[in-house]
Each structure stands twice: as C-alpha cells, then as structure tokens.
C-alpha cells in the first residue's frame, strides 16, 4: 500500500528573507520551525521526527535540544545538494505511514548570501577530486557551469531561446510583485530588461539565475487521520516520487512513478511549482514532466502566468524572485495554493504539483474534503 492521502502537511512557516540575516543558520531553522508549528497548532513537545537537507548545518540533535523535544523517534537527511526537498517529504510520509513517527518536521535554515555561497562553488566544489577531475580543470566550477552546458544543448536541439527564458522570468517576477515576502516584491522586470541583463555564464543572463538568500523554512507532517483533529484542514500528500542517477531525464522517470501513485493525469493539476536554480530549467521540466510538448510556445502564450495562464508556475516568485531557499519555499507555496492562501492564488485548487530539483523529487498535494 502506498501512503497516498494517508499523510498530510499540517503546518508551514518561514523566516524573513534577506542578504544578511545577522543570525546563525540554526537560529533561522528554529525560527522557521516554530512558525510552522504555530501554523499547525502543534506544540514542539509533540514533534517526534526531524528531517533535513544533507547540506544543512543544523543537526537534528541541536534542533531537538533547542525545541525541547522529549523523545525523538525518527530523523534523517538526504544527500546531493539543494534539490532534495520533495524527496524529504516522500521519506517523511513513508515513515509516518509505516508508524515510525507521528509528527515530522522538515527544515532548512541557511545563510546562502552572507555565509557559504552556492553560486561560487563554496558548497559543491570538489578541488579536482572525483568527478571534478574531469570538469573543474576546464573552468566548470559552480552549479551554473554544468547546468548552462545542459541548457545550451537543449536550445540547440529544441529551438527554445533566451527570450523564452526571459518570458518565464517575467512571469515569476509578476508573481513576486504580489508577494510581500519576496526579495523582488517591489522591483518589476520586463523582457527587455531580462535580455539586456549581463551574461553570467552564457546562455544564462543575470535574471535566469536564482537569488542568494539568508532565511529558513519548515513543514510539519502527520497522519491525515490525526490531522483532522487540528483546527485547520490538512493538505493531503496525494503522491511523492524521487529519481536519482539513471538513463534519461530524471523528471520523466519521477513523473511516471508520481502520476502512477496519484492515479490522476497532468490535466488534473491546477498549479505548479518547479525548482528554479536556473529559470530555463522550469521550461525544460514542464516538457520532461509531460505537462506541455513545447514549453517555448507555452510561455509565449502566457501559459505559466497566474493571471489567466493555463498552468500557473512558481506563483510565489520562486528562486528567481522570491528567495533561494532550495525548494522549501516551493513546498510552502504549493501548500498555500491548496489552502487558498497564496498571494497569487489560483482559483479552486484541488491538485498542486511541486518539483524541488528537476526530477530529483516531486509531490502532488490535494485539498482534503469536508470531515
């Protein structure tokens, strides 16, 4: 039996987003966790599970001690880099479904601008060792280098262009302009400004690259049955799937498992969040997950815009315009869309899709019925 709809997200929370938090990463994580628990109406003493990004510096022991958790029954982390948020939801849901824990908090707290900077290779650099022996000596030193290489080939093969990338960046900026939490809440972006922005690693312009952010975010998960006793309606985890190394697009492989578990089709999805370390990958993922055949044409038609688009994408502004919280802000926004609490709310959301790593993990969330 799968855990489909047997586990729910019952609380979400985040800190303020800034370039210099003035707090430790542990303090950011705790602030986000307490916000998420307050949102759920759950006391820290009722938490018995903790899960984190492998790259997160705040250990479960530190978090448990600071929250005063009396009996931590389950903990864990998932490796790779920033792209594991939805995979953590899958692991946590499986653990709750298996009876290994009752209330699991998933957290991320990071000084991504004032501390170690992902965009400089601070976290992912290999010093010429391992796979880095074949990349770094030639100047492929940061995440943007390897991903720009993939993007260039995709442009060559499919005809998708930098202007299409710009259209998606503009759509997300419009969403951020409605979101008071967003870093770019007050700054608009035009396609012309995107095209005129400086090249970082060609083909990526500045506005194709994610922000660098200090901040934190957290989710609270528990069984759907127990969640119905809480004051607020739970957001059900209809399906979750991961895809690691293998043959072909990870998103394509994750999609098969995800939609098989969900028992619904792409057309049933009302709103989408996709991990945008680099904006062009939002468009690639829309194709790889099977939502559209031609993402360039889709974005030309305004298909990803919350206001009239057929499939609104990254409705908080995403990593490009809200904050780079490595997918936890996407999971929070996907939850808010189901609750009807987004600042770029899509009407009547029943199914909310969230990818947090172009295939490394994705979830489908569902609105719970009455009772």
């Amino acid at each position: 039996m799968t855990f489909s709809n047997s586990v729910a997200i019952v609380g979400v929370g985040e800190t303020d987003y800034s370039r210099d938090s003035g707090r430790t990463e542990l303090a950011l994580a705790l602030q986000a966790i307490l916000a998420a628990l307050a949102d759920a109406g759950i006391e820290p003493r009722d938490v018995d599970g903790l899960m984190k990004w492998w790259v997160d510096t705040s250990t479960e022991a530190e978090v448990a001690a600071n929250l005063g958790i009396p009996d931590l029954a389950w903990w864990g982390e998932i490796n790779q880099a920033g792209n594991v948020g939805a995979a953590l939801v899958a692991h946590a849901a499986a653990a709750i479904h298996a009876g290994l824990a009752n209330v699991i908090v998933i957290y991320r707290g990071v000084n991504g601008r004032s501390g170690r900077r992902y965009g400089r290779g601070d976290v992912t650099g290999q010093g010429g060792r391992g796979g880095g022996a074949f990349t770094e000596p030639y100047g492929l030193l940061t995440p943007q280098h390897g991903l720009a290489m993939v993007a260039r080939r995709r442009m060559h093969e499919t005809g998708i262009t930098s202007r299409h990338f710009g259209m998606q960046a503009v759509a997300q900026r419009r969403h951020a302009n409605r979101n008071p939490r967003a870093t770019f809440h007050e700054r608009t972006l035009s396609l012309e400004e995107h095209q005129a922005s400086r090249l970082i690693v060609d083909p990526f312009h500045l506005f194709d690259c994610c922000l660098e952010t200090d901040g934190g975010g957290a989710l609270v998960l528990m069984s759907a049955d127990r969640a119905r006793e809480l004051a607020r309606p739970p957001v059900l985890i209809r399906a979750a799937a991961q895809a690691g190394p293998g043959l072909g697009s990870p998103a394509g492989r994750a999609a098969k498992r995800l939609f098989d578990m969900a028992g619904i089709g792409r057309d049933d999805i009302d709103v989408v969040q996709i991990y945008d370390h680099f904006g062009p990958f939002v468009l690639f993922a829309l194709e790889d997950y099977g939502f559209v055949d031609n993402a360039g044409r889709f974005v030309e038609e305004g298909g990803t815009d919350f206001d009239g688009g057929r499939l609104p994408v990254n409705t908080s502004g995403g990593h490009l315009s809200e904050a780079y919280l490595q997918g936890i802000n996407h999971l929070i926004e996907a939850t808010r869309q189901v609750r009807g609490e987004s600042t770029a709310q899509v009407p009547g959301v029943e199914f909310s899709f969230c990818d947090t790593g172009i295939g490394t993990g994705a979830v489908i969330l569902e609105r719970s019925g009455p009772g």
Binding site: R129, A133, Y138, L141, M149, L199, V201
Partner: protein, 143 residues
C-alpha cells in the same frame, strides 16, 4: 588568421584522479587520449568506471582515441563566479563528443569564446598545466 590563443587561468584546479581514472591521466603524460574499454563486451566509458555498465565485468583495457570530435555544447563564463576565474573572462568551456562516442569537457586552444559553436569540428592537443600534469585540449579542425 586569428592569432587568439587560450590562456588557462592558473588558479583552476589540477586533477586529483581516483584509482579508476589514473590510467587516463597517465596516458595523457604520453600525449595519448585513451578511453576505458571493457575487455569482455567492448563497452566504452568516460569518465572511467569501476565496473562495466553493460556486462558488470571489472576487466578493462585502454584504447587510444582518434582525437577527433565535435563540440556537443559549450558555455562562456562572463562573470568571474569563482576566484580562479577573476581576470580570465570571457572564457569558453566545451563539451566534446569524441568520434568514438564518449564525451569530455575541455577548452578550445585556438577559438575565441565568441566564435564557439555547437557542431564545430575539433581535434585533441595536449598541454602541460603543471609539473607532470598534462591535460587534453582541442583545436579547430577542417571537416
């Protein structure tokens, strides 16, 4: 003819090969570009592997590649997003598809960044980058 020549940023990392990859780098010192080949089924792998992906054999030989390839993809670093790149932008890095099939990353020695294109025909050349360390680079080749 352009006289442009690639100047490798001296701060770029030097390879620290794994045990599986060491024969590849040893051959470079003799100015040979080699590809790991399974002695049982002939499958090629780059970067080198510990076990053959096709047949699970652990017996490998190293076959010399022709050195011909085409540019499969490329990037041009315009902003020095890493300390090693400061003062060395714009800089192109290419993904070369060798005639034998495997892909490897490199730089083009005689093509300025603004002239790099997908599909460009290239041929390997070897350069010392540190004491006892030789890496494979590529030059434009007539098709």
């Amino acid at each position: 003819m352009s006289t442009w020549r690639f100047e490798r940023p001296p701060g770029l990392p030097i390879p620290e090969p794994s045990d599986e990859a060491r024969p590849f780098f040893d051959a470079l010192r003799e100015h040979r570009l080699v590809i790991q080949c399974c002695t049982v089924c002939g499958a090629q792998a780059h970067p080198p592997r510990a076990v053959c992906l096709a047949c699970r054999s652990t017996d490998f030989e190293w076959r010399e590649a022709s050195g011909d390839g085409v540019v499969f993809s490329y990037v041009v670093t315009h902003q020095a997003v890493h300390p090693a790149l400061v003062g060395h932008t714009p800089m192109a890095t290419v993904e070369v598809e060798l005639a034998e099939g495997p892909h490897l990353y490199s730089n083009l020695l005689d093509v300025p960044p603004e002239e790099v294109e997908v599909g460009m025909a290239v041929r390997v050349g070897f350069e010392d980058v540190a004491e006892g360390v030789v890496l494979p680079f590529f030059r434009r080749r007539a098709q």
